[in-house]
Symmetry: C2
Subunit: 725 residues, 2 copies
């Protein structure tokens, strides 16, 4: 029974033992279609839900998902809950045959069954402990449900890792049988498997917690329901889906202008230019004031806009005394310095307003967005930056809670600036967390393992997050090209030159690049990369449509294979491939990887470029893949909306969208269209094109919705083409 | 003011703010000579001190240390203490010029100033977070004091890592001055330094804590005081200081006998043989019963003893149903299985007795000691072994507290078996913790980085722990030789062949060793290693004396240079060299390290082998060090008690101890002598030989104490020799 335990006991040695939940008091309550909540004990006052800035999506959105097909989640009698001096522990039923995924951005592992994870905010996860830029206490099961634990604590999750004393005999029999043999290899001793029948969630400090159950019926629907509950996905402005380049941190206005002139001369299709710390008078902590390197910011930004580029400004949240609002915001900051600056309490509306008001000015100066850096934590580095967990914030949050919430509420603070202007944004952030799906930000990292970067992309989607495997320097030309091929198929196609004065295709090696010593092959390499960046531009209408689906019904645009094929155990360990939108499957190659086994799920898949078909349901071996080739597949029977080749979007000329039919018999597809930049699509000003094609009837199109006439039309439709071989 | 805060507030959002300690209620109390205690808030009931099994050493022992020379520790007014929902936080004064060391076994860093560490029990520390087999909430400062925080929680320590909002201006000025420059290298951004003026200790779950202050006046005395407070150091039996070999886990009685016959034939001087899991009928979890591979254990052990070997049996604490005492101990175990077995609650005297009684039988069968494996934690491995933190033990401890205490109380349980018999022991354990100095165990690990292993040895001494950089396989012949040279100068000279059927000098490469494919050079290599193992035997009287000093006055026998030279900042980062006893300095070489800069502290040092002298106070460069040579130095003016060459101690023939004079003018030294195996030295049956030599007066000896005549005398004294060149 959950009783209001006398808190006096909390200070004693008493442990409360296992409590059977009282169904009369602890019940699942339906809080949204297919979403239930149960309260266990006495939850904390500061949790992701209690301080949330966005509401759950409207009921209609949930009804776009399949019927959830269940009356009630886990029986309450099967949930155990216990409070103790460390906090509280809950146990949920766990089936040793289920596959568990999620927990936010996890760079080091994919399948979580049989593992423990502690969700601690940390920018340097080098081992598979759960440490993450963006941990999220939400997981999904191949059995078609998701669980969100509403806590801002560094909770630990144990998925079938342990068994109870009552299970001793079963475990010993299962493990060694009747005739044990000596095991001398650590691999044998530590083989991964689930041994117990519970998911245990251990929450420090809290005397209780709300948990939310997201019904499927399938895994993807459970994730979509979580996204909708978070407030829905979002739609970036079209320009955000182009290619990005971040200029060197030492560049001044003239250097940046020279850089983009060179891009235009070289026909390198970039849409967004990022300015790194050099634009600040002070940084680490920050003044948020243009430095003398940009003596006339408005003229500079107008010039950039005129040339068709959007501008994204680097910053972090930590305030230098030279910031114009430093004194004003000081009372609304944590009591410990963070990276030597003031850490605004983004849970306090006063701190938000002061911070946001100053950014209004930067937006007036021409900023199209911001890169929110360093909002995670680096507590175990030799120079421990960010605020410690014992920090006290005016809102009542402590440092631990604030780490779990900081990235999200920093994002909300600046997202509201653009909302007030009726403009969309697409930005970068280094930390995120629970209920972040409606926030138009993409995660990145200072880490650089390419395989970890791909795994991050694959995993982020389980929790309504997006991740870019940004490209900086490279170990080799091959490494550079393979990384760019991957990032071009990611949420944000970003080359980040913040520490190299010249684009990496001039010189991949950092120290040589700094000395302006260029590679002999740079001409050839820039040609290769130009092709990849142009591919991104061709995919733009398709990606835009995938995001519109995300915004409308919560389906993550970038997904692990298991999300669409949970019943196929071959997909459970596919952490090197991912789905893009409804119909694309990307299998990036790493440097030094000449051959790759790609798992294609059930059905027929076609090479994106040639239309060549492959039978799915098994691994397909690709040998000696040339550096210029990518392993990108289209579901047979799809019609993809692709831009006509060679197009660089500058927001002025419309994009010609050509339906590409990948089938010999029949196919379907869709394409989403709106004004590309404003929030008017939220009030219905948008058009969905539904396409059908069969060899007998030819191409048919239907449209739903409407657009305001007169405004700039970013898209025009072209004639369909068929891609088969 | 520390008030008995109404616990009701703990469940609310209230944070108690900074409390000024009430000197009338919170005072430093002298609890031992130079040791003070203060109580902050309401400490937990289960802490290292509250459940300790050993008492602080007698007052006389403390008086062997220098006068501590201070009236009182930190002023109470300068300590801040705060309770909150997460637990409690205390702040102690920190001087940005002080060097902080300790926190138990730290494999990844040495100097802790400017860093955060969380003391979590974990067997796989791969990054520098504080995770350790043997974390200890005790640290020492170059300013000549130590602090012990009496908690079994995973406390976090922040040594000057952060600064308060009030310090914003100072920090910004210090960091960037008035003219900031863009920093584009992460090294520049993250350079290690202390920025704040407090040591913060953040303790989860607890509403209060006792802290203990250990006065110096110097760093070594502060450590010695902590060791004495723990119960004093210990003295191993002489045989424990010989060389150890652990046999392959698949060996049976005949294989082991063949192995030692070969050792005797090859004159490889081993004193102790370890048996790995194969001796059990069931292991992981364990039966603690001899398997059919050892059909007549008593005959086997008698045979081994007859040949002069002692036997050490592998085990871990986790109980298989096949253990004869499984049913009996079950009620006194944690409620979660641990590595698939029952985890005895070693804080419960009933569990201890049942476990210990069975071990009495094994000792009767001939076991001379045990290797206590797996008593740490592997929670983040794909197969999470050991018990989880939410485990409940009958004693009232939870899994977190129990992890901090498990290794120590497991050690105590089996140490008492030998105490009852009046015998000394010297054993292996994989986890330890606070107040463990009197426990006759040496730590080891499954990790294998040689540099980490050396750092472990260097750091363990700060907290009254011992560590062996055991040798298993090797990457190369050079790696093997360099590792054996290092382990021979460590607390326990151990070659561990548990996963290789043949000694590593036959074949360093594991898979070839398993296939019985031997190296062409094995004859030559075994010759080299024989020399190193013989060196260990020669050092035995010196090491024995160093341990006797440890037992008597708490001085760790293996120490970082900074412990003896805290005022010399050059020693602060010396984590690759260490002091052995009073007069030796060892600088191990790694494989592929042909040249080494050795820092020799102030004074004159001599090559151990040749007597060649070096002026200290600076780095001395050694180039092209041959594989057969070691960088081992003796303090000029020392007299070392060394065994005459070629001696293999079997407990039957006495060792001839030869005073070795390392000086051209005058020298002194000492040598400790007793019966070598019993506990009678504790009641005074021992002799200290004090030696003086000068070129004018010659060699002089004095003795203190007495030995019982008639019993076996393990040592006889020889004539002194002079080693100079």
């Amino acid at each position: 029974m959950i009783s209001n335990v006398d808190c006096h006991e909390l200070a004693g040695l008493v442990d409360f033992g296992k409590e059977t939940l009282d169904p009369a008091r602890s019940v699942w309550t339906l809080v949204a279609p297919g979403v239930w909540k149960i309260t266990l004990g006495k939850p904390e006052e500061i949790t992701p839900v209690s301080v949330r800035c966005s509401n759950s999506a409207k009921q209609e959105a949930y009804h776009l998902l399949p019927e959830w097909g269940m009356q009630v989640p886990f029986e309450v009698e099967k949930i155990n809950f216990r409070r103790h001096r460390r906090g509280c522990t809950l146990e949920l039923p766990y089936d040793r045959s289920e596959g568990i995924f999620g927990l936010g951005l996890q760079l080091k592992s994919h399948l979580q069954s049989g593992k423990k994870k502690q969700l601690r905010v940390n920018a340097d996860p080098t081992v598979d402990t759960g440490d993450s830029h963006a941990p999220v206490p939400f997981f999904v099961s191949t059995h078609g449900y998701g669980i969100f634990v509403d806590t801002a604590r560094y909770a630990s999750f144990y998925f079938g890792t342990h068994a109870k004393v009552e299970e001793l005999k079963r475990r010993v029999d299962e493990k060694w049988g009747s005739n044990p043999v000596p095991h001398t290899s650590t691999e044998e001793l530590y083989a991964a498997h689930s041994i117990g029948n519970t998911t245990v969630i251990d929450i420090p400090a809290a005397a209780g917690v709300d948990i939310y159950f997201f019904a499927g019926p399938d895994m993807k629907s459970a994730v979509s329901r979580y996204v909708l509950f978070s407030g829905g996905g979002f739609l970036p402005p079209i320009w955000g889906l182009g290619n990005w380049y971040r200029a060197c941190g030492t560049h001044n206005a003239r250097d940046v202008l020279n850089l983009v002139r060179q891009f235009q001369k070289d026909k390198m299709p970039f849409s967004v230019i990022g300015l790194e710390p050099g634009w600040h008078t002070h940084f680490y902590p920050n003044s948020f004031v243009w430095s003398e390197r940009f003596p006339d910011p408005r003229k500079f930004t107008e010039d950039m806009h005129e040339r068709g580029y959007r501008l994204n400004l680097w910053e972090n949240a930590f305030v230098h005394p030279a910031a114009p609002f430093a004194e004003e915001i000081k009372p609304f900051c944590g009591d410990e310095l963070s990276t030597d600056g003031l850490a605004p309490d983004f849970l306090d509306p006063r701190a938000k307003k002061i911070f946001s008001d100053h950014h209004d000015q930067l937006i007036k100066d021409g900023a199209d967005g911001f890169k929110l850096d360093e909002c995670d934590n680096g507590d175990f580095l030799p120079f421990a930056w960010s605020f410690p967990e014992h920090t006290q914030f005016p809102s009542g949050a402590d440092g631990e809670q604030m780490h779990s919430l900081y990235g999200v509420h920093y994002q909300h603070t600046l997202a509201e600036n653009f909302q007030r202007l009726g403009r969309r944004q697409y930005d970068l952030v280094r930390s995120s967390g629970a209920l972040a799906a409606p926030l138009p930000y993409v995660l990145y990292s200072d880490l650089y393992g390419h395989d970890d970067f791909i795994r991050g992309l694959v995993n982020a989607g389980f929790s309504g997050l997006l991740w870019t495997p940004e490209v900086r320097h490279a170990d080799s030309i091959e490494d550079l090209v393979r990384r760019v091929q991957c990032v071009a198929l990611s949420p944000l196609s970003l080359i980040n030159g913040w520490y190299i004065p010249n684009p990496p295709w001039k010189q991949v090696e950092r120290s040589l690049n700094e000395m302006n010593i260029f590679m002999a092959e740079s001409e050839e390499i820039s040609g290769l990369l130009r092709g990849v960046l142009n591919l991104r531009m061709r995919l733009l209408p398709y990606l835009y449509t995938a995001f519109a689906t995300y915004a409308r019904e919560g389906t993550p645009p970038f997904r692990a294979l298991v999300m669409d094929y949970p019943g196929d155990r071959n997909t459970w360990r596919c952490d090197r491939q991912f789905l893009v939108g409804h119909d694309l499957l990307m299998a990036p190659l790493l440097a030094n990887e000449k051959n790759l086994d790609v798992y294609l799920p059930q059905g027929v898949w076609r090479n994106f470029f040639t239309g060549k078909s492959y039978q799915g349901g098994e691994k397909v071996h690709f040998a000696d893949v040339p550096l210029s080739e990518m392993l990108l597949f289209v579901r047979d029977g799809a019609i993809l909306p692709l831009a006509s080749p060679g197009y660089a979007f500058d927001g002025k000329k419309p994009i010609q969208v050509v339906p590409h039919i990948y089938s010999e018999t029949k196919a379907k597809g869709c394409f989403y269209d709106d004004d590309g930049n404003s929030l008017s699509y939220l009030s219905g000003e948008c058009v969905w094109h539904d396409w059908r094609w069969s060899s007998s009837t030819g191409f048919q199109k239907m449209t739903r919705g409407c657009k305001k006439s007169g405004a700039f039309q970013p898209f025009v439709l072209g004639e369909p083409v068929q891609v088969v071989s």
